[in-house]
């Protein structure tokens, strides 16, 4: 099944995440890393989910990853691909795979970031097969 672009829902940025969405508006994909324990996490937050230090910081993400899991929502109109992608930085994030043939998708397949504008135009990080 051919899967095209998708218009994501609006993400509703918060003070904790505004910098992420501002960067997305400039075409940059940020990842959050704890400067105390050094581990990157997802979703981004001000308190490290591992060592609970409050010194977490944004960094430029590679925008590369591999498919950890996916499903093809055929019941939706238009159909779309729900997925978890494991980022090169380590953590796995929920996303959509766009611009693909669903039959060609597979767990482990490399993917790259592609921003899809939400209903109100906020770029939302999605992925497409490499």
């Amino acid at each position: 099944m051919k899967i095209g672009q998708r218009i994501p829902g609006d993400p509703e940025p918060t003070p904790e995440t505004q910098a992420f969405w501002d960067a997305a508006g400039e075409g940059r994909f940020l990842v959050r890393r704890c400067t105390a324990c050094g581990k990157a996490h997802w979703y981004p937050r001000g308190t490290c989910p591992f060592c609970h230090a409050t010194e977490t910081a944004w960094e430029e993400g590679s925008g590369r990853g591999t498919i950890y899991a996916f499903s093809v929502m055929r019941k939706a109109e238009p159909p779309f691909v729900m997925a978890y992608v494991t980022l090169a930085e380590g953590p796995t994030m929920m996303t959509n795979i766009v611009d693909c043939e669903s039959d060609d998708l597979a767990i482990g397949r490399p993917v790259e970031l592609v921003f899809q504008p939400s209903k109100s135009g906020i770029p939302v990080p999605c992925f497409r097969p490499l």
Partner: protein
């Protein structure tokens, strides 16, 4: 151990219909409550503890407690979605052990069919203040498409097939054919399940539970009261609950939190998984059952597909009897929340009151496991170990 030590489930009642266009939620809550009390041989004046979920309209317990004119000493509105009512049984036992109440009423009712809310395929509408909202809601997260990811990953890691998952539905249909109230009573075959539309690849329409109106209620009480009633004794001897999320982005979605609650509840009860004669396992989807069978220890991780195949879950001939009322897959999933009916069927089995065609002989030990929320995203499993007491 002082624990829950020994509260009893004295009353259990499942509303008979699966479509309630002409009754209000409050009426259904009330009918469920009165049904469970009548089953126990108690009256509403005996109730001093009330446990409900957000399906009860109003703020926490307030509106339904007022509608029923309850005189309460204790209440608890823990909400973990579908597992809430399973959690409530354990919390009621703890409250009773602590002397906070004597007769706890637990209710569930809902009208998703009458109200046109087939929740599983709809995008969730959560609170934007949830810290996860902006990272999930934009992607069209629905119950269906995240459970389908679990199925896909399980297939990838362990070679599980669509046909094996289908056997879970086939077993449910074998049981539901004997339940006159079941939403779906027709026997289905593996071929029919895998031949039904792929609603969210790799899950087919028949891999999904039913959407039903209805509900039920339970009465949990202290030993002295339970023993004064003229009903078979069903005792809670172990329980455990937990939450499991995405672990900061380093998760394994093919292992649920039941891998922790199952062993904890069994240890508290002092029994092994091999002692269990009957199990009620949450069956929002076929994959949900497979995951629990493995995580609770009925079979090794990755062996669920083989375990359920060839009628492995059919009462009387299978490896373990589960969901002998037809489960959420065929019988009932009232208010899109399955934890209540799971406990009710376990009580029927322990009392020897299940349908004769599916009754497990000499059923003296049962396990109930519910999964609230969503596997793969964040969920709250709750396990109960129940025994038939002398």
């Amino acid at each position: 151990m002082a624990r829950t030590a020994h509260a009893y489930i004295a009353g259990a009642y499942e509303l008979p219909e699966r479509y309630y266009p002409d009754k209000t939620l409050a009426q259904l809550q009330a009918e469920a409550a009165l049904g469970a009390l009548a089953d126990a041989g108690l009256t509403i004046d005996d109730v001093d503890g009330f446990f409900c979920g957000p399906d009860a309209p109003g703020t926490g317990p307030l509106s339904i407690a007022d509608y029923l004119n309850l005189k309460l000493r204790h209440f608890d509105t823990t909400n973990t979605s579908g597992s809430s009512y399973t959690v409530h049984v354990a919390h009621a036992a703890e409250a009773i052990a602590a002397g906070k109440c004597d007769v706890a009423l637990i209710t569930l009712a809902g009208r998703p069919r009458a109200e046109g809310r087939a929740k599983g395929a709809l995008a969730r509408t959560d609170n934007p203040q949830q810290p996860d909202f902006q990272w999930e809601q934009p992607y069209g997260l629905a119950v269906l498409n995240v459970y389908a990811m679990v199925a896909r990953r399980h297939m990838h890691e362990y070679g599980t097939t669509a046909e094996q998952l289908a056997w879970v539905k086939v077993a449910a249909s074998h049981h539901a054919q004997h339940n006159p109230n079941a939403r779906l009573r027709d026997l289905v075959t593996v071929e029919e399940v895998v031949g039904s539309p792929l609603v969210c690849d790799p899950l087919h329409r028949l891999d999904c539970c039913v959407v039903t109106d209805g509900g039920g209620a339970l009465i949990v009480t202290r030993p002295e009261i339970a023993k004064s009633l003229k009903r078979p004794l069903v005792r809670l001897i172990g329980s455990a609950e937990t939450t499991q999320g995405q672990n900061g982005g380093y998760m394994d979605i093919t292992t649920s939190g039941a891998a922790r609650t199952g062993p904890a509840a069994l240890a508290e009860a002092g029994v092994g998984i091999g002692d269990i004669k009957y199990a009620s396992l949450y069956d929002s989807f076929t994959i949900t059952v497979l995951m629990q069978l493995e995580d609770l220890g009925f079979c090794a991780k990755g062996q669920g597909g083989a375990f359920v195949s060839d009628g492995g879950l059919i009462s009387g001939t299978g490896r373990i009897a589960i969901n002998t009322d037809g489960g959420g897959l065929c019988n009932n999933h009232p208010s899109n929340r399955g934890g209540m009916t799971k406990v009710i069927e376990a009580v029927r089995q322990l009392r020897g009151e299940a349908h004769p065609a599916v009754q497990v002989p000499d059923c003296d030990l049962a396990l109930v496991n519910a999964i609230g929320g969503q596997l793969a995203v964040r969920h709250a499993p709750a396990t109960l170990i129940l025994e038939r007491a002398a």
